[in-house]
Symmetry: C2
Subunit: 217 residues, 2 copies
């Protein structure tokens, strides 16, 4: 496939992106752009393709206000046009693996017998005696792939974002009823449009020199 955009267009979007501290609470994200960003989340890559997460889009202002109380009062939680909580599975089961295989068969055809080797690989990795302790970390990491994808996609569509780890996960789980569903909040992302009052928008990006971050062997 030919590049969809030029190097300089891509870098323009990445340089424009920053962790937005102050959102314009009056600006909404157009419906078509929001639909695309949701589709981008769905299209994220994940381990084995298992998608061990849910994306909780919190629109209800009352719920947003309750989350704000457990997010150190960071106003992005209530001021951004959209607010997503990334919730990772806390355990894996045979049933969940089979749910995915059933979906694979529904989309691609085939049958369980043909997927037996793939199933074995997943159960060996995810249901071994030592795996249970790893699962929440493994699932959380997959959420972060989706987050990284979303930050970039949003920037390309001119939408500002603020990834947020500064909240009390157990309180978020309780407000959103996540534990009962087998999920736990791991990271959030506010989306919308920067306020002209956000002084961080014009601050130069701080990155270590490339030769310190990237090591070639």
């Amino acid at each position: 496939m030919e590049p969809i955009l030029t190097d300089s267009q891509l870098l323009q979007a990445l340089r424009w992106r920053y962790a937005t501290k102050v959102f314009d609470p009056t600006r909404q994200i157009p419906a078509d752009i929001w639909a695309t960003l949701q589709e981008a989340l769905v299209l994220s890559a994940s381990s084995f393709g298992l998608q061990p997460y849910r994306f909780i889009v919190v629109n209800d202002p009352t719920v947003r206000a309750r989350l704000l109380a457990h997010a150190w009062g960071q106003r992005q939680v209530v001021d951004a046009a959209r607010f997503i909580v990334f919730a990772a599975r806390t355990a894996m089961t045979e049933a969940e693996i089979d749910r995915f295989l059933d979906r694979m068969i529904a989309v691609r055809g085939g049958n369980r017998t043909a997927l037996a080797g793939y199933r074995q690989m997943m159960t060996d990795s995810l249901l071994s005696p030592t795996a249970a302790a790893r699962i929440p970390h493994w699932a959380a990491r997959q959420c972060y792939i989706a987050l990284g994808n979303l930050l970039t996609c949003a920037a390309l569509l001119g939408v500002d974002t603020c990834p947020m780890e500064g909240f009390v996960p157990a309180e978020f789980d309780q407000v959103l009823g996540l534990a009962a569903q087998g999920y736990a909040a791991v990271v959030c992302c506010a989306l919308g449009y920067r306020s002209v009052a956000d002084k961080y928008a014009s601050a130069p990006k701080v990155r270590f020199p490339a030769q310190e971050l990237i090591q070639t062997v």
Copy 2:
């Protein structure tokens, strides 16, 4: 900022992307595109902006062959044009936080006194008595933001990728000498161009229905 591309262009790239199983070992990534992808990595978002990672680009075929032995023989390790190991910091220190603050001052001006509050927030979060056990997980998650960003940027530039968790991290650490530098391999990414022989390239994407993955509150 106006969108850099259209919704359909973005979705075209995301749908074109897949975890490439067979790379064309004869195709290299043009230098300008590779430079852009490296810059995209550097521009990734991270917690507090601390960039607690290094990206190890493994070009040496001998080293690639040694890694292959600890990656279940997955040929992407040796066949892809580029191979990146994402290495996360295993501990945080006052010195590392100060290295970042010094960089911030070098880029933006200002002084340590003005950044005292920011420093305190970072030390409270990352150097507390209970933090040490969390740090490797926290740093690993930041690597995954960079990975998610990279997968999307590569697709937009027509470059195929394969994110890889199937390797023995401790062996990778040894081959690359990462532990001595305070880092640990957490995930890898092969980049290049798909082989016409890769039957997975044409397989429909398997995703749970959006209404199962995305929950609106």
